[in-house]
Symmetry: C2
Subunit: 344 residues, 2 copies
DNA sequence: GTGAAAGCGCTAACAC
DNA sequence: GTGTTAGCGCTTTCAC
């Protein structure tokens, strides 16, 4: 910029104004300045601008894990939305640890991002970490695993009604002993899906058997253990509804190993994203998350808050999740399993 | 910082020095300053530092797509390596378009990142976009899909020997008409895997049949078409080696739909990452990419270049890829298919 | 051992 | 219409 000013024999501020089409700079000068800027491919130094304006056009994204399809596709939505509105994203993974989450959050604050999009880590119990954010007045939007929804905006899916729908779906397909492998109780997604499961049972006139509700920490190993536990029951369940992907795939492996057939002996449904569900055999009946949209919506809410003149109240957006019926919950005509046979 | 100086009745520069344990600041002062900084949770403004030092502790990552496991797991490796060394990552997706890649690259340069990690988009033909980077002297490391390896460092796997190994593996399992669905020829990965395929055929004393080498653009639809084309051959192949994940999964679906059994009628192998391969049925024999390590290695090379006093020459790291033998290429004992039967 | 001052690149209020 | 100046937050040379 200085060079341009020198070259054209004008002052730096004139150049600055010319570059932003300020109303009272002579048109010829504007053209000349812009040509030169182009030629020397000048781009404004974001640090200088950031220092001056206290904004960075950058948003921080904190997810529990980068590898899982669920998160990577949400990130894809975030990236796409951010790009459209001229923002950049800095990504951090908490690796499901609230300790690392805290550090990353601090990092992002230190970097002076304009806003944050966060999904809680699995072990997030003490959510007071977010006091810091509240104090700093940096807009934050949670997605999926949320907390303090009165204070921060969030994007979720309607877990309760989706879980209810899944449960009723299993009932309608002849399953009567419907079990649920739930996630950690500190997470809203676990609690809400349990609630929906219970509502679903009630809708169907089934009584709740506490033995059929087991918890696990969402790891492959623990899910396998949970499945084992269910199967070792004197009257084992004839259907399992899993809180998420990992749990369901793990359960499926255990069932196969024991020689139990899905959907014949045991029906299987879960919350999952679109990709995996169609790759396993049998294809999985599941609540499909609109992952890309979750990302888009989250970044939309966030940028609205960032660009708002006055402080927004927290908003909560619940996206519609869809039950996709595939093979794992539909007993083939005439293919009544021994388990369900005993039952009828 | 100003507040701390005022509070303690010293100058700003003293505070600055105290915070970095400068040798000739009195120890008591250092303690006091640090306490206050802690209390008011002061963190240096990265814009001010960036402006002054012309470095940002930020690296830009440009990938063809964020959703695919291959890329998301590499990003995970990058994030992890960057975190360890105190760097942050800004992520951009080119969505496989070289036009978008160019824009993103420009964005990242504008942001004054300290370095770049890039994987070419599928249609990258004109690699002169990178002249810009060379001119700007910002370190750049390519991974997987690379170009201009004399000018930029890169992290790849040894595609030629891996493809060769795959081909020989098929031969050893009784397959004789081995086809290859290749990717776009502008990509090094396609060319190298074709080369390995040809070497493998030669090793086995098989002659190369040009009909058995088809190209596709890596999309699901085109892979399906390519598979159809191979199957419609008067003497269709008894094994298919696919250039990557998508191609193989697509081929598998087509084969299933036509009622052909894998591995019995047609053997199937490919280049893939670890997750999907064990989820499909039959499990896929494949060259496993050490994705996390690719990311780690790339960020390692990059940070070495960033932190080097003098300009490094470009380095090329080739990681060992491993053949993981699973079900899709092993004919069951006695289970000779009609196709292979004709052949023997 | 500590302070004053310049300057990193840019903008905007205020001059003229 | 255009130039001058102050200042965003910080580091560092030079002075004392």
């Amino acid at each position: 910029m200085k060079d341009i000013a020198n070259e054209l024999g004008v002052s730096i501020s004139t150049v600055s104004r010319a570059l932003k089409d300020h109303y009272d700079i002579s048109p010829e000068l504007i053209v000349k300045v812009k040509e030169l800027a182009q030629k020397w491919n000048y781009t404004p130094n974001p640090f200088a601008v950031g220092l001056l304006k206290q904004r960075t056009k950058t948003i921080g994204v904190l997810v529990p894990d980068l590898v899982t399809y669920f998160y990577s596709s949400i990130i894809s939505g975030i990236e796409s939305g951010a790009r459209e509105r001229g923002y950049h994203i800095i990504i951090k993974s908490s690796q499901e640890s609230s300790q690392k989450a805290k550090e990353s959050l601090q990092n992002l604050l230190d970097l002076r991002v304009d806003g944050l999009i966060v999904c809680l880590s699995q072990d997030a119990v003490d959510v007071s970490d977010f006091d810091l954010i509240l104090a700093s007045e940096i807009p934050l939007v949670f997605f999926d695993r949320v907390c303090r929804v009165d204070e921060f905006s969030s994007v979720v899916i309607d877990n309760v009604s989706a879980a209810r729908e899944l449960t009723v779906h299993l009932f309608e397909n002849g399953y009567r002993r419907i079990a649920h492998i739930a996630g950690p109780e500190n997470l809203n997604i676990s609690r809400e899906r349990i609630a929906g499961y219970l509502e679903g049972l009630e809708d169907c006139g089934l009584s709740f058997n506490p033995d059929y509700l087991v918890h696990c920490d969402l790891s492959i190993d623990q899910s396998a253990l949970a499945t084992d536990q269910l199967l070792s029951h004197p009257l084992p369940p004839d259907a399992v509804f899993g809180v998420n992907d990992t749990v369901i795939f793990s359960a499926m492996k255990v069932l196969k190993k024991k020689g139990l057939k899905v959907p014949c002996d045991v029906g299987l449904v879960g919350f999952t994203d679109e990709f995996h569900a169609t790759v396993v055999e049998p294809n999985l009946t599941a609540i499909a998350h609109p992952t890309f949209e979750i990302g888009k919506e989250a970044v939309g809410l966030l940028l609205d808050e960032i660009q708002a003149e006055t402080k927004h109240p927290a908003r909560q957006v619940a996206l519609k999740a869809k039950l996709i019926v595939r093979e794992s919950s539909i007993r083939k005509r005439g293919g009544v399993s021994k388990v369900s046979f005993e039952d009828h």
